[in-house]
Symmetry: C2
Subunit: 198 residues, 2 copies
């Protein structure tokens, strides 16, 4: 059902232009001060085009984040260890957190915009879900006695855009990475539970 004829050349061109414009504007003025009108104008297309491509504001931001997260996603499922499969979870988890921290640091604006665009329940956003599944799986392997689902949320909560900004503003990217390692370590080395918390 997804095997339509290929995307038209102008459509492709426009999609890139729109994403680029959106990212630049969001980085410059923040999500709340970027209207679709502006995005369209900056990208040199009509407003209708933006909506036809992405459905709505939320869709646009989702696409933006997905674009930025694609390489990481691929590295996780089929890249070399320790990020990709093949290494023990105790190594894959920190590697993933490192990669995500780097991604987050370099794209705080996109992250922030995505958060604010998600109407509600950001936890069920595709990208979040993918990350959460990954972390949960790793945690479950390394520490089957813990509530992996909950601790997955805990770790991912550290990538809240405001938090990333606050931490890196006072300590730079290094502090974020260090804090994440510290937290992950604390969780992985927590005293054993007699039975799964959940």
């Amino acid at each position: 059902m997804s095997e339509q004829r290929p995307e038209r050349a102008d459509a492709l061109r426009n999609r890139h232009a729109i994403l680029e414009a959106a990212e630049a504007l969001v980085a410059a003025h923040g999500f709340d001060h970027v209207s679709i009108d502006k995005v369209a104008a900056t990208a040199g297309v009509g407003k209708g085009t933006v909506f036809r491509r992405f459905g709505n504001r939320t869709g646009l931001m989702r696409a933006l984040l997905e674009e930025r997260a694609r390489m990481l996603s691929e590295a996780i499922v089929s890249g070399p260890p320790p990020l990709g499969p093949g290494a023990p979870p105790e190594q894959r988890l920190p590697a993933f957190l490192d990669a995500l921290a780097s991604l987050a640091t370099r794209n705080v604006s996109v992250l922030a915009a995505h958060e604010r665009a998600c109407p509600q329940d950001k936890l069920s956003d595709p990208t979040y879900l993918r990350w959460h599944r990954h972390i949960t799986a790793l945690l479950g392997q390394a520490r089957p006695d813990l509530d992996a689902e909950f601790y997955g949320h805990t770790l991912l909560a550290m990538f809240d855009a405001d938090l990333v900004r606050s931490i890196t503003a006072n300590g730079g990217a290094a502090r974020l990475a260090a804090s994440l390692h510290d937290l992950a370590d604390t969780i992985l080395r927590a005293p054993a539970r007699s039975r799964p918390v959940r």
Copy 2:
């Protein structure tokens, strides 16, 4: 400078009506579908009244949360232990988390609305700040070798409205409380750092 003549009777009445209406509407339809027009109409006042009282949407939501958090705030600074002063931090922290979990569970809608209303940097919102200072102080006393500021954010991040909803939807209020205890315990009993992480 804050010793003006007392609030007029009608003003007081209206403020309560507005807060009540706002809470009911937010609980019923969610922040994104509640316009100030509706709040005003439901409260039986004019639109201008709402804005004069609360400044803007954000101010209204802030006031709503502050209203709901007031008793907790008082209990912390001057109530009986273990919530109030007098108990060791290892007891005050879980007590605070319990209280906050209860508050959050009973007022998820308000919490969610407040989050979404905060234009940006929810970390510098008065209520968040107060809670963070409290947690940070307790953590700092119990475990001076940790990055209390960071772990304070970690713990508070668990009160994200979406997360609270997700956790309690599958496990109820009890699961949230248990998870929080577990996390706090994990942090408090983490292997000692040779020197403060920060």
